[in-house]
Amino acid sequence: MHEMLKRLRSKNEFWLAIVLLGLVVFFSFTAPAFFTIGNLNDLLTQNAFTGILCAGLIVVLIAGGIDISFTATASVVQYAAVTLANMYGMNWIILLVIAGGLGAIMGTINAFFVVKFRIHSIIVSIATLNIFYGLLIFITSGNYITTVPDYFYDGINWLEFQLGRRSYGINLQMVLLFGSFILTAFILKATNIGRQIYAMGGNPDAARRLGFSIFRLNLFVYGYMGFIAGIASIAHAQLQLNVTPTVLVGRELTVLAAVVLGGASLMGGVGTVLGTILGVSFLCVLQNGLIILGLPARWEGAVTGLVILIAVAASALEGSRQMNMRRASRKGQEAGAAA
């Protein structure tokens, strides 16, 4: 038991869970409207877009890369997919497949430039962000789409139940949110390609020497991010019941912050789905609670920024402390072995 506690203590997720719990308790007491079914339902639904994107970005970070073009990808896919849906009807399955597929193709463009031209992924994604977004607004002139297919209005409502005057259930956003996390967790833990991604992030040179196909892995990683962005865009479109092409870009940093908070590193090789869930929950709960407490919406960005800064600073301090500890313990091991 003692051993397990000691092991837990060093895990980033443990501390994050504690802080999150503390935050939830705090808000439950100070803002009665927080811990209600209604609010929790809205919390999940409104933030599903961000959450789904986190499920994709964690894979990119584990692989050792970074991507901030996914909001542009989502904007393009959202516009194209809803336009197609309006023209051809289709149903949820087909729509999601098309959206995911289109997103995946756009995502692989990043992989191409990162691997074949060896440009740093931050620069590639800054470029593709502007290319995708610029072309989208240019071609659509920024027009909204105000009509959506009928099945958008119906949405999905599994396990529906009534409480007071509202009916609750598992809606499309929740399905896609949970689904994305489950899919990502499955890929990372149970598939060979997922383990190869961890390996490549941990030591890219070794991966190359051992014959890993770096190009194929990156195609998968950035393609997956694009796929997830496409899925997220549908979740968002159904919630809004319209498409505004300019509204999604700008949220990249919240997603990145959530994933980094959850323990992923820009260096690559580390990160878990659990950590990501905790990270994005933390940020969303924080924002939600502050708003209920009366914080004007326009201050959200500042609070998020402050939290990000504190979190990365703390994580960097913790990282160097752990490195020193590890060095000391390794020397201890050697001394012990020599004795």
Partner: protein, 321 residues
């Protein structure tokens, strides 16, 4: 080193070719108004590009650059609107100076914050400046709710729009920043240390250089240049807002990479940056005159950035072999 000189020659040739092509092909390109507006635009953008360049040289990046610029503008705009209405003579000048000082203070604070987190807490520059960018922009939005502050006294608008001997005043400001910076980078110890840190920070530290202090100074200077850029932009636009000039972030990075600054750090000169800025300004004005949508231009900037970065990496690997 020889290849780098080639880059500047290549850029100069490209510049001349573009100039001739655009002048011949596009109506109104070769005109006084066109030259005037190009000079003004390139000045503001140029100062911000210098701010981005020094962080790239050292092997980092300053993603909070535009947010810093905007918060400075808003601070100064607020103080000006507080202190100057109705004032004249010394009171007016005093008010303006106080406002400018407030802007400088804001810039210094942000620069110091970036510098401290990156140099002393060892946080990656991407993460750190993303964090400060969110925070700074958040504060700007929080304070102004996204509203515009405008209407500045003539002294300010002169900086952005006035002329000296027919040449925009802002161009003098830009040149007045670029030349001292170029000299500082190539002739002072700190300048040389910046290049060395960009190539290999640990080895530079082992040689006895206080690398943390140098890195701190780089981010501080970057923010101070953002402050100067803010003054020029304020003067030109006669207004300030939390989300102005966001496309400039991409363009400053693009100008740096195109100008031969290695995005990984360690090499690049101001001269190259200036040539790249001129090229980009030509293209931007040409597109404008041709009636291109600004969004199409954005997309084209993205493509040029990819091309320039790919070329830079190719050159670097050739140099190393």
């Amino acid at each position: 080193m020889i290849l780098l000189r080639h880059t500047n020659t290549q850029l100069s040739i490209l510049l001349v070719i573009l100039f001739i092509a655009f002048s011949l092909g596009i109506d109104r390109f070769f005109s006084i108004e066109s030259a005037w507006s190009m000079a003004i635009q390139v000045s503001g953008l140029g100062i911000l590009s210098l701010a981005m360049m020094i962080t790239l040289l050292k092997g980092g990046i300053n993603l909070s650059l535009i947010a810093t610029t905007n918060l400075c503008s808003l601070t100064m705009a607020y103080m000006i609107n507080l202190l100057t209405p109705g004032a004249e003579g010394l009171a007016l000048i005093g008010g303006i100076l106080v406002a400018l000082a407030c802007g400088a203070f804001v810039a210094a604070f942000i620069g110091a914050l970036n510098g401290y987190i990156i140099a002393y807490l060892n946080v990656s520059p991407i993460l750190a400046t993303l964090g400060t960018m969110t925070l700074v922009k958040g504060i700007a939005v929080g304070l102004t709710a996204g509203n515009v502050l405008s209407g500045f006294p003539e002294a300010i608008t002169y900086i952005g729009n006035g002329a000296v001997l027919g040449i925009p005043f802002s161009l003098f400001v830009f040149v007045g920043c670029a030349i001292p910076l170029a000299i500082w980078l190539s002739r002072t110890p700190t300048g040389m240390f910046i290049y060395m840190i960009g190539s290999n920070e640990k080895a530079t530290r082992y040689s006895g250089i206080d690398t943390k202090w140098v890195i701190f100074k780089v981010y501080l200077l970057s923010s101070m240049l953002a402050w100067i850029g803010a003054i020029v932009l304020m003067g030109w636009l006669n207004s300030a807002r939390a989300d102005y000039s966001e496309s400039y972030l991409l363009i400053t990075i693009l100008a740096a990479v195109l100008g031969g600054i290695d995005p990984f750090g360690g090499s690049g000169k101001v001269a190259g940056l200036v040539l790249a800025l001129a090229i980009l300004q030509f293209i931007s004005s040409a597109f404008n005159l041709l009636g291109f949508s600004p969004f199409l231009t954005l997309a084209i900037w993205g493509v040029i950035l990819l091309a320039a970065a790919a070329l830079a990496i190719k050159t670097r690997s050739l140099q190393q072999n």
